[in-house]
């Protein structure tokens, strides 16, 4: 647990509603929100949506065999809707998480941003506004569509999502300018130097574990790019061609086989990309949380428990996502439990950070 002296030293860097606190609390909250959203999406939307796409693709091949052009187009319109539903939800999940990581990173570099306190706070608020606006708007794209839109291809939800992205970029440019001013000007001694030197067991384990997870993710990604990517793309087109030609030749059994193989291929692609993305993101998260440990006001035993739970979940989720190819929904369920472990661990750490901020604020109020 942080000592009273350490807490006093961190107080300046973690002022009430200051940029570091806004970024830290906002970042962890975004990550928890993104992970819960991802779990809900995986359990209630992902597989059901994939099943509906398969049904409509099969129906489209039957319509090709029957020579019914109208029915073909109707089924592809439906497939487009299901793909948009899936795509916007994946984008929502990814962007909430990435903005959460970026917020934690920006919390870390605040001592090196040479801007006034009010400017830094404003940048943090702009960032968080954009970081919420973009994913919420992306989520709404599927439901709002092009209603009342002044543009032909882009609806209001997309416009607000792009505006959210612009806000985040503006905040990051401001942070970059502040960092540049720090590097060019006189550099005050920083309390943050101590932050980097946190050598506690939880910080060291998170740092090493996180780097190894990122490395594993990169190796897996490189293997996927070398062994699978081009082969998957070629198989994708070949199966679509087979569906089309078999259906046009009234060979519905072969067309159905191609539809099933196509569904399997989409599943294989999805799990391999998801495993690659998740293991790297959890690695990055672990490294980032190494810095936050100093602000987690919990007993050492509980800090260690949350670290182990986080790392366990970070390995279980991507490994069992990959195993979905062999074990199906059983592995999917275990992967979801891995995600839940990460969420629980993060929530535990968030409680610790909130306790830390409460203790800081109480100490300030008690000062004469």
């Amino acid at each position: 647990m942080s000592t009273p002296n350490a807490i006093r030293r961190n107080a300046g860097a973690f002022a009430p509603l200051g940029p570091a606190r806004l970024f830290s609390l906002g970042g962890i909250t975004l990550i928890i929100g993104g992970m819960v959203f991802g779990d809900v999406f995986a359990v209630f939307v992902l597989h059901q949506n994939a099943g509906r796409i398969g049904q409509h693709l099969l129906a489209a091949t039957q319509a090709v065999a029957a020579g019914d052009v109208g029915s073909v187009l109707a089924h592809f319109t439906s497939i487009g809707g299901f793909l948009e539903n899936r795509g916007t939800k994946v984008d929502t999940h990814v962007h909430i998480l990435d903005f959460g990581y970026l917020a934690l990173l920006l919390a870390l570099v605040q001592p090196y941003v040479a801007l006034s306190a009010s400017a830094k706070k404003l940048l943090a608020q702009i960032f968080l506004l954009g970081a919420v606006l973009l994913p919420v708007s992306v989520f709404l794209i599927h439901y709002v569509g092009l209603a009342y839109s002044p543009l032909r291809a882009i609806g209001w939800a997309s416009i607000f999502a792009d505006f959210g992205g612009l806000l985040v970029i503006v905040a990051c440019v401001g942070e970059l300018a502040g960092l540049w001013r720090y590097l060019r000007g006189p550099r005050p001694a920083l309390a943050a130097e101590e932050l980097r030197q946190d050598r506690s067991w939880p910080a060291r384990v998170l740092l090493t574990g996180g780097t190894l997870l990122v490395l594993l993710g990169f190796l897996h990604g490189a293997y996927y790019a070398a062994a699978n990517l081009y082969q998957h793309e070629a198989r994708d087109t070949a199966l679509l061609r087979a569906m089309m030609e078999d259906a046009a030749g009234n060979n519905l059994a072969a067309a159905t086989q191609a539809v099933n193989a196509y569904g399997g291929l989409q599943g294989e692609k999805a799990v391999k990309i998801a495993a690659h993305a998740h293991i790297i993101e959890f690695g990055l998260l672990a490294i980032l949380l190494a810095f936050v440990q100093r602000f987690v006001f919990l007993s050492e035993r509980w800090k260690r428990r949350w670290v182990l739970v986080l790392l366990l979940g970070s390995v279980v989720l991507p490994v069992f996502v990959l195993l979905e190819l062999r074990w199906g929904l059983v592995a999917g369920g275990i992967a979801d439990m891995g995600g839940l472990l990460v969420v629980v661990s993060l929530s535990g750490m968030l409680v610790g950070v909130l306790r830390h901020t409460g203790r800081l604020d109480a100490g300030r109020e008690a000062e004469p």
Binding site: I154, E175, R196, L207, T211, A226, E233, E281
Partner: protein, 174 residues
């Protein structure tokens, strides 16, 4: 602040801005059009097949495959530039804990930055040129990132071992 940390932090934030700016540009001016084109090409392919006009069906399917090839890479580039930028920033904050001397750390930081820029660049260049050069650039960039990352992991392990042996403040001065 050491030169290696300075390089990683500034490059990381600049790459994050670039990666997000690229994503914003893509979302505004290309993504919707690409998705519409993919949907239309695939539907057109199957519709022509229903009419038994197979050459046109094949041409539409080829257009779908081409658009999908580009779309996948454009999205990958946005996510990889932004993700690698975050990795550079986080390493920039803690690079002094990598248990090598500053000269080696600076080389490592340079390799990380070059890899983080060139790997996605090679991927996005494949949308303009399917030849071997963009692919080689992507492979080289990703190999640089992986090698540097392995060295950083080793450096952290050395740094941790040194920290356990030495009193605070005596680490990473070799």
């Amino acid at each position: 602040m050491s030169a290696s940390r300075k390089l990683l932090l500034v490059s990381g934030l600049a790459l994050a801005v670039w990666g997000m700016g690229y994503g914003l540009w893509y979302a505004l001016f290309a993504e919707h059009q690409a998705l519409d084109q993919m949907g239309a090409s695939l539907a057109n392919a199957f519709a022509r097949a229903a009419e038994r006009r197979m050459p046109e069906a094949h041409a539409a399917l080829e257009a779908f495959a081409q658009t999908q090839f580009n779309y996948v890479r454009q999205v990958d580039v946005h996510s990889h530039w932004t993700g690698l930028a975050m990795l550079l920033i986080v390493f920039g904050a803690i690079f002094d804990r990598v248990g090598f001397d500053e000269r080696k750390r600076f080389y490592l930081a340079t390799i990380l930055v070059v890899g983080a820029v060139s790997f996605p660049l090679g991927v996005v260049l494949q949308t303009a040129n399917r030849g071997p050069i963009p692919k080689a650039l992507a492979v080289l960039g990703s190999a640089l990132v992986i090698l540097a990352l392995a060295a950083v992991a080793l450096g952290f392990a050395r740094g941790n071992a040194a920290e356990r042996r030495s009193p605070p403040g005596e680490v990473n001065r070799a």
